[in-house]
């Protein structure tokens, strides 16, 4: 899930942190050569629209699963949540565990059969089948706009990080990233994007796993780290996941367990992981129903390990980062960093990288960050190209064109999408607050969209009018609440139902309310309108669809078995860090 970019990026110190040695440049150059090669290599296998937009629906569960989790493992998230761990402690891990795992398993076990057997090409496509053109139109327009803007945000973020960490020119970074991504996505479509995402997953671990390993050695192990953090910050709150969530006042984040469980764990997480086409598209590329169900479960298993390379470095920084004079380094917030030139929270990951990694390893870490940014751009642009071609161009402008025409449109829309992203990147460069607005826009649609999709899949009585008005009212309510808090900060107490709530709580409760409004409006309007005949709901709704067997002869081959294993590990982890 996106984290506030302007907060992340404006905080960097005005001087570059390090320089690359020739060996680092060789490591980085090798990555660029390989991704371009992959684009040319798979071009021959992307001749039909199914191949270009859905990778031929021939990916195994492992490939689809790794790509699924990797599409969310962008560098903005890595650096942002490492900074959040420094600022809020281990509470940031909730965004990786309860904020992801249950939703990913739910997608695999409950929702994937409907997405998969309906043979939809996209999430807006499913909405069209279930609720008609109105719901698809709202969803497709908002999604296409947001993905192309997010790609631009990623592009500018990469350029700014490269400028601050390495002193690179902003325009150089923007164009080198844009051209590389445009070439490999235009040539290979989703297939190219997926291969690069799997590569990026390996690179992220290769580049970042040394930080927690060496950090824990330096700190003397986990128990010593906890003791040192408690001594440094004067509180045990930074290393407990749940025990401090009884009150808004008892934890560094200013949130309550109801917001974490219902706002984050249910609405935001389920909304993002089950209806954001950027991630769902990866699973739709699976080669059969069993792979489609297993892919999110495999993704969930790997997702649980990500806090090791994100949250642990943030916690380690609380004890090992020191100034040149040997005193503890105190990272600060946006305003203070801008005024004093100190390092900000979000520089945690680069600072830790520089602390432990000399020439060669530093290049590997920087390459991992670049790969994360480029993969974020590629994911957004490939999803944009699919939704544009299928759900806007093919639905409203040119129906019934030959398949080759849509493939051609997919390639051209990739280039146009990338050019719009470059424009967005330059726009953001001149007005950084736009980044927050772009991400806020993204959050407006996620929670209500989840309400619409889940009612559509699980409730036969939901009608087309109910789906459309529910989605629209939930989205409008979310925008209205956001404007209310922007204009009057005190409004937060009403949205979060507590005067002690802090800004972090706003997203959680706004999502919860907009979801509830969407569900209530969908429910009421559906009851007031004519039901859709059950025969028309076959393949789309639970109770009107015969779910085919996933052809798993043994228990250990069944997706539900592995979902149970993952959920048990999930509970154990939460209890261990309670």
């Amino acid at each position: 899930m996106p984290i506030s970019c302007s907060h992340l990026l404006l905080l960097f110190a005005p001087h570059q942190l390090t320089v690359l040695a020739p060996i680092d440049i060789a490591v980085l150059a090798l990555y660029f050569v390989l991704v371009i090669f992959i684009g040319f290599y798979v071009k021959g296998s992307t001749n039909t629209s199914e191949e270009f937009f859905l990778a031929g629906r021939e990916m195994s569960a492992w490939i689809a699963g790794l790509s699924f989790v990797s599409a969310n493992l962008g560098s903005l998230e890595l650096m942002g949540w490492a900074g959040a761990a420094y600022q809020y402690g281990i509470l940031a891990a909730h965004w990786y565990w309860i904020g992801a795992i249950p939703a990913m398993l739910f997608l695999g076990i409950v929702m994937m059969p409907f997405y998969y057997i309906s043979k939809t090409h996209s999430v807006p496509g499913y909405l069209q089948l279930r609720f008609g053109e109105g719901a698809r139109g709202v969803s497709a327009v908002s999604f296409a706009l947001m993905t192309v803007l997010m790609s631009g945000v990623n592009m500018y973020s990469m350029a700014l990080v490269m400028k601050v960490v390495l002193g690179w020119n902003i325009s150089f970074s923007i164009w080198i990233g844009a051209v590389t991504v445009a070439v490999y996505v235009m040539l290979g479509g989703l297939r190219s994007a997926i291969i690069n995402e799997v590569l990026q997953f390996v690179l992220i671990w290769a580049g970042a796993a040394l930080i927690p390993i060496l950090g824990l050695i330096e700190a003397g192990g986990w128990q010593n780290l906890k003791a040192q953090i408690a001594a440094n910050v004067g509180s045990n709150d930074y290393t407990h996941l749940w025990s401090t969530l009884g009150s808004f006042r008892d934890n560094p984040m200013g949130v309550h367990w109801t917001g974490i469980i219902f706002g984050l764990g249910f609405v935001i997480s389920f909304g993002y992981w089950t209806t954001d086409f950027l991630v769902v598209q990866r699973v739709l590329s699976a080669n059969n129903l069993r792979s489609a169900k297993l892919a999110p479960i495999i993704g969930a298993a790997f997702k649980m390990a990500v806090p090791l390379i994100v949250i642990v470095p943030g916690l380690l920084a609380l004890t090992v980062l020191k100034n040149p004079d040997g005193s503890m380094m105190h990272l600060v917030g946006q305003d203070v960093a801008a005024a004093t030139g100190q390092h900000s929270y979000n520089e945690v990951l680069p600072l830790m990288l520089i602390r432990y990694c000399g020439p060669g390893l530093l290049g590997l870490g920087i390459t991992a960050l670049v790969a994360g940014f480029m993969s974020g751009m590629a994911g957004n642009v490939s999803a944009f190209s699919t939704v544009w071609t299928y759900d806007l161009y093919g639905a409203y402008m040119k129906k019934d064109a030959p398949d080759s025409h849509y493939v051609s449109m997919g390639r051209w829309s990739t280039i146009v999408g990338m050019l719009v992203s470059v424009g967005t990147a330059y726009l953001v460069a001149h007005a950084a607050s736009i980044m927050d607005y772009v991400q806020a826009l993204f959050s407006f649609f996620i929670a209500p969209l989840f309400g619409t999709v889940i009612l559509g899949m699980l409730w036969k009585r939901a009608t087309r009018s109910g789906g459309f008005w529910g989605l629209l009212s939930g989205t409008v309510a979310s925008i209205a609440m956001w404007i209310w808090v922007q204009r009057d900060g005190a409004a937060l107490r009403y949205i979060a139902l507590s005067p002690d709530a802090r800004p972090m709580a706003e997203n959680l409760y706004r999502a919860l309310w907009s979801f509830l409004i969407c569900v209530v409006v969908t429910y009421v309007v559906s009851l007031l309108t004519k039901p859709t005949p059950v025969a028309e709901l076959a393949g789309l709704v639970y109770g009107a669809t015969e779910i085919p067997d996933d052809d798993s002869p043994h228990l250990w081959q069944k997706p539900i078995f592995w979902a149970c294993v993952v959920i048990v590990v999930f509970f154990i982890l939460n209890l261990m860090f309670w």
Binding site: I23, A26, V27, L30, Y31, L34, I38, Y41, V42, G44, S45, T46, E51, G56, E58, M59, S60, I63, R191, I194, I195, V198, L199, V202, L203, A206, L210, L214, I217, E218, V320, I354, R355, Y356, C357, G358, P359, G360, L361, L364
Partner: protein
């Protein structure tokens, strides 16, 4: 059919997963050995020779995938 790269292609996606770490291992391991012979950069815990050991790990990981998923005739 090579997994993940399309019908008729010879190189599997897992081959690509192996080739990059293998090349990184080939670069990092000798450099790590050179550093271990008294040319270390002044990073924290450099005495543990992380470049050398990480390079070796990447080399083994990459070599395994490259050999296991190397293109074969037919």
């Amino acid at each position: 059919m090579a997994e993940g790269t399309g019908r008729g292609e010879k190189l599997s996606i897992w081959f690509f997963v192996g080739i990059l770490p293998l090349m990184y291992g080939i670069i990092l391991l000798p450099y790590g050995i050179y550093e271990a012979m008294g040319h270390e950069s002044p990073t924290t815990l450099h005495q543990l020779h992380p470049t050398m050991w990480w390079g070796l790990l990447l080399l083994i990981f990459g070599a395994f995938y490259v050999i296991r998923f190397r293109p074969r005739k037919g």
